[in-house]
C-alpha cells in the first residue's frame, strides 16, 4: 500500500518533561518519528515542552513548538499550523491523554485533523479497563478476575468478596501510578482512595492478584493490511507484583516452550486486532502461572512505550520509526529492514544474544520513602546490557548501572545487612561462615520475599548462606532458571576464589588463561578478578591481554547472522570472532551518560547526539558508547558505530583497543565519563577538548582554590574535613550556616545546609562517611543570595558565553531544581558584565576547549563563584534553544580542532524573547515526602516556557510542569517570619487579580495589618476545619508555603505533601511566588499565544543581520 498523499502536514505530540514512568524513551521514539515522516516527505509539526530533548532540536521537525502539552495549547497550534493529521502514539501516556482530551473537546473535529496511529475509539478501548476486559473475554482470553469500583466502599465490598491479596489499578494513569497490591482491608482502603483520586475518570479496577506468576511482554506491530509481527518477547526476572519498569527484564523469553510462546503470540495477534490498533506498535503484558501454564492478559499499551524502546535496542528493529511509517499507510513489507537492507521489515527479529535490562532507582534522594517495589513505578532510569549468556549480560548490566558496582558482587562493595565485605578476606570469611548462620539465613529469606532495589545481591548472599534454589524460589518466586544462573556465577566465583592463593599473576599459564576466559565469559570484570585475586584492575588487564583473552565485538543485526548486516551496532563478549573491524577513517569516540538518574539525564544525551551529528558533518567516523536503551544516542542511526557497553574504564579500553579512535570526548556525557578522564588518559587515550589536567583542577578543591585566589575571584569561605571534629572546626571558622557535601558527587548527592554544630554532627553521623579518599566539603552558605548559572564555550583562544541564567529561587537550592530565566531579568548590566568577565578568566585559566558551566551567588553586591564544571552542563540544551545556537555541536567541532572564529560563533547572543526553565519533580510517586527544595537535587526533568516577556514565559513554564497557575479561586499562604514583609506585595497583587486569600494565623495577621483582606484558617494541628479540609475540598487553587524547618513531620510539610497529592501548585519560595504573580498577571492581561522555535530563531537572525547593517558589527553582549 503506498503512503498516503491526502495528508501533507502531521502534528506529533511529545511526552514533555522526564518524569518517573516517562523518560527519554519518548524522545527516542519522537525523534525517530520526526525523521521517518520527514524522510517520507511530510511536513512535521511538533509540540513538546521539554527543551532537553533531541526531538525539539529545530532541525528535526519543520515546526517545533516548545509549549505546554495541554489540549488548550494543542488547539492553538492546530489553529495556527492547520495540520492534516495528528500522531498521538509517540508521546507516551501524556501524548495519548492529551489527544483524548483534545478529541473530546472537539478540537480535532473542528479543524479537520485526523488521528493517525491510533484512533480515539482504539485508545479508549485499550486504556479503559472495563472495555479492555470485555474485549479480552470476547476473543476467549483470560484476564485476572476483577471488578470496577467508583468509590472506596465499592472497592471494599469487592475486596471482601474476592479475598486478599488483590491489586488496585486506576484507569488512565501513568507508569502504573496509583496502583498497588493490597494484602488486607486497610491497605485496600488506602490504595483505593488514592487511586480514585488520580484516575482521570475516577475509576479503579479491583483485581485478583496474580502475584508470583511469571510476567511476559510482547512487542507487537500491525500495518493497514492487517499484517502483524512480534518484534520481541520479554521475560521479567521479577515475577508479577512489580511494575515492569521496576523489574529486571530479559529478552527474549527464556523459559517458554515454543507451544507456550506461540499461544502467547496468537493471543497478542488477536488482541491487537480486536482492540483495533490499525497501525503501529503496541505492548501487551501477560502473566503465566508457573505451576500449570495458565495465561492471563494483564494490559496493553496502544502506543510505543519504554518496552518498545527496549525492544528496538534489543533487536535492532526500530519500532517507533516503522510505526510512524505505518501510520501514513506504508505496510511492513514495503519498508526495508534498515540493518539487512535487502530483506523487508515484515519479519520477526531473531536474536543470538541475551538482553538484560536493570532499572536504576534514586531512593537515596527521598529519605523515609518506602523502597519496596510494587506495581507503581519508582525507578528513574535503566540500563541494558548485551551478552552471549544471561550471566554475562547480567553482570555487564550491573556494572552499567552507575551504582559503583562492578558485577554481581565480589567487587568490594558487598554489604549483607550491616556487614560490609570490603576486603576479600572479609568476603572469604563470610562465605565460609555464612552457611552455619541460621539467623542470617532467616533474615535473608525474609528480605528476598519482597522485591527491592538490591534483592539481586541478596539472592547471591542467600546462596552464600547455603540456601537452595528451591528455597530461594519459594521465598522470592523468581524463576529457578534465573536463580540457577546466579548460582553458576557463584560457582565461577568459587573457582576464582579457590585459585586465589595459587594463581601467579606474572606468569602466562594456560590454566590461568582458561580460568580468566571462563570468568570473562561469565561476565566478570577485571575489577572483580582483581578483588578476588588481591590485585588491581590494571595488572589484571595486563595479564589478561598477555594471555590473549580479549573482548570481541558482535553485531546486533535482527537476524542472528542469517543475512549480512550493514548497520554497525556492537556489543562486547568473549568469543572467537571479532566483527567490529576498525576502519581507516579518522575516528572520534563519544562517551554517553549511562542510565538516567536524578542529576544526569536526557540533557547529556542531547549533547552527545549533537556531537555525533556535528562530527559526522566534519567527516569523522563517530563512535558512540552508552548503556541506556531509552536514548537517542543508542539509536544506531545517530553515530557511525554504536557500542552498547557499560561506561567503565575496562569496557571503554576494550573498545579503544579494537577501534583505535583519534581521541575521545568525555565532557558531554555528564559526570560519568568525566570521572573516567584521568584513568583513560593514563591508559594512553587522548582526551579531546579540555584536558584531564584541567578537569582535575576544576574538580579538586585544593587545586581549584589556588586558581580562584590567583584570579582574585571571591568564593564563599570554605574548608575540607575528614571527620566530624574536623568539620566542626572548619564550620566554626567559615561561620554558620554552611553548605556541606561529600566531594565528587553528582546532583548534590547528600548535600545539605547546616545551621549549627548539633545539626552538623548529626549530618556527619548519618549522611556521609568521610575518609581520606572522600573528604567532606564545607562552604559558607550565602543566605538569600541570588544564584546565577553561566554556560560558556571556548577553544583555548576565544571564549564565548552561551547564556547567563538567573535563578528564580535563591541560592541554596540545587541548580538542577531551580527555575532559571534567560536573559537575567533582575540583574544589572554591570553585574552581568562582571560575571561574564570572571567566567572568561576562569575559562582561560583552565584552558577550556569545549563547554564549561560556572555557578555564582550574588550577595550584598558581591559575586561569589560557587562551582565550576569543565563539561557540558544540564542547561546546555535549554540555552541552545533559547539563543538559537547549538552549543554542543559547536563544542564538538572545537574538540575536533575547529576554532570558534571559523565556526562563526564569537559573540554572546542576547535573545529578544524570554526563556524560563522550570524543573519537574517526582514527589507524587513518593507520598508523604516533603517537597521543599534543597541543595540535594530531586527533579527528574525540566520544561521550558518561551514568550516575549517574563510573565508569559513563566506562566507557560508552570503550565508545562503540570503546575498550571490558576486564574481565579483561593490562594493559601503560610510563610516564615522573615518572609512576612516580602509576602505583602504579592498578596496585594493577588487580591488585585481577584483571588480570595486565606492564610495561617500569623501570616493572616501580618497581611491584615497591612490592609490586605484575608481570612485565617487553622493549621492541621490546630483542629478542624483546617487547611487540609480546604485542600481536599478543592477550594484552594494555589499555595504559597515557605519552609520554617525541614522534615516530613512538620505541619507545613504535610500541607505541601497534601497539595502534591491533590495536584495543587505549591510555591515554596518568595521569589517563585513573585514570578508566579507576574505570570498570572501576564496571562490575565495578554493571554498566551504560541510561536514556533524556528520563528524565534529566525527573528533573532534577522535582528542580528539588521544590527550588522545598522552598526557594522554583530550584536554585542548586554550593550
Amino acid at each position: 500500500m503506498p503512503k498516503r498523499t491526502d495528508i501533507k502536514k502531521i502534528l506529533i505530540i511529545g511526552s514533555g518533561p522526564i518524569i518517573i514512568g516517562q523518560a527519554c524513551e519518548f524522545d527516542y521514539s519522537g525523534t525517530q518519528a520526526c525523521k521517518a515522516l520527514k524522510e517520507e516527505g511530510y511536513e512535521v509539526v511538533l509540540i513538546n515542552s521539554n527543551p532537553a530533548t533531541i526531538m525539539t532540536d529545530p532541525d528535526l521537525a519543520d515546526r517545533t513548538y516548545i509549549e505546554p502539552i495541554t489540549a488548550e495549547f494543542l488547539e492553538k497550534i492546530i489553529k495556527k499550523e492547520k495540520p492534516d493529521a495528528c500522531l498521538p502514539t509517540m508521546g507516551g501516556q501524556t501524548g495519548l491523554n492529551t489527544a483524548v482530551r483534545a478529541y473530546e473537546t472537539g478540537v480535532f473535529e473542528k479543524y479537520g485533523v485526523e488521528l493517525i496511529g491510533a484512533k480515539y475509539e482504539v485508545i479508549r478501548k485499550a486504556e479503559d479497563r472495563e472495555a479492555f476486559k470485555k474485549a479480552m473475554l470476547k476473543i476467549g482470553l483470560a484476564v485476572p478476575k476483577s471488578q470496577f469500583a467508583y468509590s472506596v466502599e465499592e472497592a471494599l465490598s469487592i475486596g471482601d468478596r474476592m479475598g486478599y491479596p488483590m491489586v488496585v489499578r486506576p484507569s488512565f494513569t501513568l507508569g502504573g501510578f496509583g496502583s498497588g497490591v493490597c494484602f488486607n482491608r486497610e491497605e485496600l482502603e488506602r490504595t483505593a482512595r488514592f487511586g480514585l483520586e488520580y484516575s482521570m475518570n475516577h475509576e479503579i479496577l479491583v483485581e485478583e492478584s496474580v502475584l508470583g506468576w511469571k510476567e511476559y511482554e510482547l512487542e507487537v506491530m500491525r500495518d493497514l493490511k492487517n499484517n502483524v509481527v512480534i518484534v520481541c518477547s520479554i521475560e521479567n526476572f521479577d515475577p508479577m507484583g512489580v511494575h515492569t519498569g521496576d523489574s529486571i527484564t530479559v529478552a527474549p523469553a527464556q523459559t517458554l516452550t515454543d507451544k507456550e510462546y506461540q499461544r502467547m503470540r496468537d493471543a497478542a495477534l488477536a488482541i491487537i486486532r480486536e482492540i483495533g490498533v490499525e497501525t503501529g506498535g503496541s505492548n501487551i503484558q501477560f502473566a503465566v502461572n508457573p505451576k500449570n501454564g495458565d495465561m492471563v492478559v494483564i494490559e496493553m499499551n496502544p502506543r510505543v512505550s519504554r518496552s518498545s524502546a527496549l525492544a528496538s535496542k534489543a533487536t535492532g528493529f526500530p519500532i517507533a520509526k516503522f510505526a510512524a511509517k505505518l501510520a501514513v499507510g506504508l505496510t511492513l513489507d514495503e519498508i526495508p529492514n534498515d540493518i539487512t537492507k535487502y530483506t523487508p521489515a515484515s519479519f520477526e527479529p531473531a536474536i543470538d544474544y541475551c538482553i538484560v535490562k536493570i532499572p536504576r532507582f534514586a531512593f537515596e534522594k527521598f529519605p523515609g520513602v518506602n523502597s519496596e517495589l510494587t506495581t507503581s513505578m519508582k525507578s528513574v532510569g535503566e540500563t541494558m546490557a548485551i551478552g552471549r549468556t544471561f550471566k554475562e549480560a547480567l553482570q555487564k548490566g550491573l556494572r552499567s548501572l552507575e551504582i559503583k558496582r562492578f558485577g554481581l558482587g565480589a567487587d568490594g562493595k558487598d554489604q549483607v545487612f550491616d556487614v560490609k565485605l570490603e576486603t576479600r578476606g572479609k568476603l572469604f570469611d563470610f562465605i565460609k561462615n555464612a552457611p552455619d548462620d541460621s539467623e542470617l539465613r532467616r533474615k535473608i529469606r525474609s528480605y528476598i520475599g519482597t522485591a527491592r532495589e538490591d534483592r539481586l545481591f541478596y539472592i547471591k548472599y542467600a546462596y552464600y548462606a547455603g540456601m537452595s534454589t528451591e528455597e530461594i524460589h519459594d521465598a522470592s518466586k523468581i524463576d529457578p532458571w534465573f536463580l540457577e544462573n546466579i548460582k553458576q556465577i557463584i560457582d565461577v566465583e568459587r573457582g576464582l576464589i579457590d585459585a586465589a592463593e595459587t594463581v601467579n599473576l606474572t606468569e602466562t599459564k594456560e590454566s590461568t588463561k582458561e580460568l580468566i576466559r571462563l570468568a570473562k565469559r561469565t561476565g566478570f570484570s577485571d575489577r572483580q578478578l582483581a578483588f578476588l585475586w588481591g590485585s588491581d584492575e590494571k595488572s589484571i588487564r595486563e595479564l589478561r591481554l598477555s594471555l590473549n583473552v580479549r573482548a570481541v565485538f558482535k553485531l546486533v543485526d535482527t537476524c542472528a547472522a542469517e543475512f549480512a548486516a550493514f548497520t554497525p551496532y556492537y556489543y562486547s563478549t568473549y568469543e572467537d570472532e571479532n566483527e567490529a573491524v576498525a576502519s581507516e577513517k579518522k575516528k572520534i569516540m563519544i562517551l554517553g551518560g549511562g542510565p538516567n538518574r536524578i542529576g544526569q539525564g536526557i540533557e547529556f544525551d542531547y549533547c552527545c547526539c549533537q556531537a555525533a551529528m556535528a562530527l559526522r558533518e566534519l567527516g569523522y567516523e563517530t563512535i558512540m558508547v552508552n548503556s541506556n536503551p531509552e536514548t537517542v544516542s543508542t539509536d544506531y542511526d545517530t553515530s557511525d558505530k554504536l557500542f552498547f557497553e557499560p561506561l567503565t574504564r575496562e569496557d571503554i579500553l576494550n573498545i579503544c583497543d579494537a577501534q583505535k579512535p583519534e581521541g575521545i570526548i568525555v565532557q558531554l556525557g555528564g559526570q560519568t565519563p568525566l570521572n573516567l578522564s584521568a584513568s583513560l588518559e593514563e591508559a594512553g587515550i587522548k582526551i579531546l577538548g579540555t584536558s584531564a589536567h584541567s578537569i582535575e583542577a576544576a574538580e579538586d578543591r585544593d587545586k581549584f582554590n589556588k586558581i580562584i585566589s590567583k584570579l582574585k575571584i571571591r568564593q564563599p569561605d570554605n574548608g575540607i574535613a575528614l571527620n566530624a571534629d574536623d568539620a566542626c572546626r572548619v564550620a566554626a571558622k567559615v561561620g554558620y550556616p554552611v553548605v556541606i557535601r561529600p566531594s565528587f558527587v553528582l546532583g548534590g548527592r547528600a548535600m545539605e545546609i547546616v545551621y549549627d554544630e548539633e545539626q552538623l554532627r548529626q549530618y556527619m553521623r548519618d549522611a556521609v562517611e568521610a575518609s581520606d579518599e572522600h573528604p567532606i566539603l564545607i562552604d559558607r552558605f550565602l543566605e538569600d543570595a541570588l544564584e546565577i548559572d553561566v554556560d560558556l564555550i571556548g577553544d583555548g583562544e576565544t571564549f564565548v558565553v552561551g547564556a547567563v541564567m538567573e535563578h528564580i529561587e535563591e541560592a541554596g537550592i540545587h541548580s538542577g531544581d531551580s527555575a532559571m530565566v534567560i536573559p537575567p531579568h533582575s540583574l544589572s548590566k554591570e553585574k552581568v558584565k562582571e560575571i561574564i568577565q570572571k567566567t572568561e578568566l576562569l575559562a582561560k585559566e583552565l584552558n577550556i576547549k569545549g563547554l564549561m558551566n560556572v555557578q555564582y551567588a550574588i550577595k550584598g553586591g558581591e559575586v561569589y563563584c560557587l562551582e565550576v564544571n569543565p563539561r557540558a552542563s544540564r542547561t546546555v540544551p535549554f540555552v541552545s534553544k533559547a539563543i538559537g545556537i547549538p552549543l554542543a555541536r559547536i563544542a564538538a567541532c572545537v574538540m575536533a580542532g575547529k576554532r570558534l572564529k571559523e565556526l562563526g560563533f564569537t559573540e554572546e547572543i542576547i535573545p529578544p524573547h524570554v526563556s524560563v526553565k522550570e524543573s519537574v519533580f517526582p514527589f507524587i510517586k513518593f507520598p508523604g515526602v516533603d517537597i521543599i527544595l534543597s541543595p540535594e537535587m530531586k527533579s527528574t526533568g525540566e520544561v521550558m516556557g518561551i514568550d516575549s516577556n517574563f510573565g508569559q514565559a513563566f506562566y507557560k513554564s508552570q503550565d508545562s510542569a503540570w503546575c498550571r497557575l490558576p486564574d481565579k479561586g483561593t490562594v493559601f499562604m503560610s510563610v516564615k517570619d522573615a518572609d512576612k514583609p516580602k509576602i505583602v506585595p504579592i498578596a496585594k497583587g493577588l487580591a488585585e487579580l481577584g483571588f480570595d486569600l486565606v492564610a495561617t494565623e500569623g501570616t493572616a495577621a501580618h497581611l491584615k495589618s497591612q490592609g490586605i483582606p484575608v481570612n485565617s484558617v487553622k493549621k492541621i494541628a490546630e483542629g478542624r476545619p483546617n487547611i487540609a479540609d480546604l485542600l481536599k475540598s478543592g477550594t484552594v487553587k494555589l499555595l504559597i508555603v515557605t519552609p520554617v524547618g525541614k522534615g516530613p513531620a512538620l505541619d507545613e510539610a504535610k500541607i505541601r505533601s497534601l497539595a502534591v497529592m491533590h495536584e495543587i501548585p505549591s510555591l515554596t519560595t518568595i521569589n517563585a511566588a513573585k514570578a508566579a504573580l507576574s505570570g498570572m498577571r501576564a496571562y490575565r492581561e495578554k493571554g498566551v499565544t504560541v510561536r514556533a522555535l524556528q520563528d524565534y530563531h529566525a527573528a533573532m537572525k534577522r535582528d542580528r543581520i539588521s544590527n550588522v547593517r545598522n552598526s557594522g558589527r554583530l550584536e554585542s553582549r548586554h550593550a
Binding site: 515454543d258 507451544k259 506461540q262 520477526e348 531473531a350
Partner: protein, 380 residues
C-alpha cells in the same frame, strides 16, 4: 562433572572447539543453522533433519528441558546438536527431563561452548558444509579429512531412512490448551474423509492439524505405490516434509505423478518439492537453506504477509515451472524463493514452509482449511 573437550570440524578446514554434551560419540553430516529462539525439542525430533547436524543461533538452549508432548517424532533425528550454552537447569511445568539426558538416552552427541555466531556467519557466507563432531579424536586435521569424505547432500535419498515401515492410523489430537485456532468445531470421528499421508519423515503436528480439520488419517511408507493408495479409496493425499535431496526420491516422484489429477493432493516442504518435480519442474540446493521461525512469506493473491516456520535446504526453481499449468502462490520476501504453488486445473497445491508450525508461528494455518475445502468442496 568434568567437561570433555569436543571439536566440530568442517570440510573446508574451519574448526570449532567446545565441550561435549549428550552422548559421547562421533557424528557427521551437513551442518545447518536454525534461527528459532525456542522450539529446540521440535527441531531435534523433526525427521527432516536426518543427515544434518543442527546449530542453534540462539545461544541459551535447554532452558525448559524436554517434555512428552512436544515431540515431532519418536526420537531425536539430528545427527548432532550444536549450541553455545546448555542450560544447567530445567524450568518448565511440563518438563519431564533435561535436554542433555534426552540426547544421551538416544545416543545423540552435542557440542556446546563454541562461537555459534562465527559458525553461522561462515555457513551464510560459504554455504552449508559437511562436518564431523568428535570428542574422541581432537586432531583437527584428521577430522577435516573425515568431513571431506562424507557424502554430499545432493543426490542423497534420506527418506528411506525415516519413513515408516508399515501403514498406521493416527488419532492423536493437539494438546489440550495448545490447540489453535480456537474456533474450530470438532467433528465426530466417524465418516470423516480419509487422507493418505505419504511419510517421508512426517512431523506429528501435521497429523494433529489434519486430524483437527476433520480427516481420518492413514500414514503409509513413502514407497507405497499409487495403486495401493487408491485401494484405500482416499478422499485426499498428503505428501509430507522430509530430509535429503527431493530429486533422489524417484519412487515417490513417480507415485505422485500417477496420483496427480486423480485425487486432491497437498504437499508440505519435501512434499512441495516432490510434487513440483512430478509436475516437470526442477529443484536446486540453496546456499544455506531456510531454517527458522521468522520467514516472511507473501500470499501473491491477497498480498498478506505471513510469518512462517521453514526448514529446507532445497527449493523449487521458478524458471522451470510450467506457468501455463502451475500458479506460483507464495514467495519468500527475504530472497524471493518459491514458497507455494497451485495447479490451475487439477486439485493440487503445496507449500514449501510449515503451516503446522511446531516450532514456529501459526499464521499459515489457513492452508489446512484450504486442503479441507479442496477435499470436501472441490475448491482450492
Amino acid at each position: 562433572m568434568k567437561e570433555k573437550k569436543a571439536i566440530l570440524a568442517l570440510e573446508d578446514g574451519e574448526i570449532f572447539a567446545g565441550t561435549s554434551f549428550g552422548y559421547q560419540r562421533d557424528a557427521g553430516g551437513e551442518v545447518v543453522f536454525n534461527t528459532s529462539m525456542c522450539g529446540y525439542q521440535e527441531i531435534l525430533t523433526d525427521p527432516s533433519y536426518k543427515g544434518q547436524m543442527v546449530a542453534m543461533t540462539y545461544p541459551l538452549i535447554g532452558n525448559y528441558g524436554i517434555n512428552e508432548s512436544d515431540l515431532e517424532s519418536e526420537k531425536p533425528q539430528v545427527e548432532a546438536f550444536i549450541i553455545r550454552e546448555l542450560s544447567a537447569c530445567v524450568s518448565n511445568y511440563r518438563s519431564t527431563g533435561s535436554l542433555s539426558d534426552y540426547l544421551t538416552g538416544h545416543k545423540i552427541p552435542g557440542i556446546q561452548g563454541i562461537d555459534t555466531r562465527r559458525l553461522t556467519k561462515h555457513l551464510r557466507d560459504h554455504g552449508v558444509k559437511l562436518g564431523i563432531l568428535s570428542s574422541t579424536e581432537l586432531d583437527p586435521k584428521k577430522l577435516v579429512q573425515r568431513a571431506k569424505a562424507l557424502p554430499p547432500m545432493e543426490g542423497l535419498d534420506l527418506v528411506k531412512d525415516v519413513t515408516c515401515k508399515t501403514p498406521y492410523d493416527f488419532k492423536e489430537e493437539l494438546e489440550e490448551g495448545f490447540a489453535w485456532p480456537k474456533d474450530i468445531a470438532r467433528e465426530a470421528h466417524d465418516g470423516k474423509p480419509l487422507v493418505i499421508c505419504f511419510d517421508s519423515g512426517i512431523k506429528r503436528n501435521i497429523l494433529r492439524k489434519l486430524n483437527q480439520r476433520g480427516f481420518s488419517l492413514r500414514i503409509v511408507p513413502a514407497t507405497t505405490s499409487a495403486k495401493e493408495v487408491m485401494t484405500y479409496k482416499p478422499a485426499g493425499v498428503f505428501l509430507s516434509n522430509g530430509p535429503g535431496d527431493p530429486a533422489a526420491v524417484t519412487y515417490l516422484i513417480n507415485t505422485a505423478r500417477e496420483l496427480i489429477g486423480k485425487i486432491p493432493i497437498f504437499g508440505i516442504c519435501l512434499g512441495h518439492q516432490i510434487l513440483s518435480i512430478a509436475l516437470g519442474a526442477k529443484t536446486y540446493k540453496l546456499k544455506f537453506g531456510h531454517h527458522g521461525g521468522n520467514h516472511p512469506v507473501i500470499d501473491l493473491k491477497t498480498k498478506a504477509v505471513e510469518i512462517t516456520a521453514q526448514n529446507h535446504g532445497f527449493a523449487v526453481d521458478p524458471d522451470s515451472v510450467d506457468k501455463s499449468m502451475i500458479e506460483i502462490t507464495h514467495l519468500n520476501l527475504n530472497d524471493k524463493t518459491v514458497e507455494g504453488y497451485r495447479h490451475k486445473k487439477l486439485p493440487l497445491f503445496a507449500v514449501q514452509y510449515h503451516p503446522e508450525a511446531s516450532p514456529g508461528p501459526h499464521d499459515p494455518d489457513y492452508l489446512f482449511e484450504r486442503f479441507r475445502k479442496m477435499v470436501v468442496e472441490g475448491v482450492w
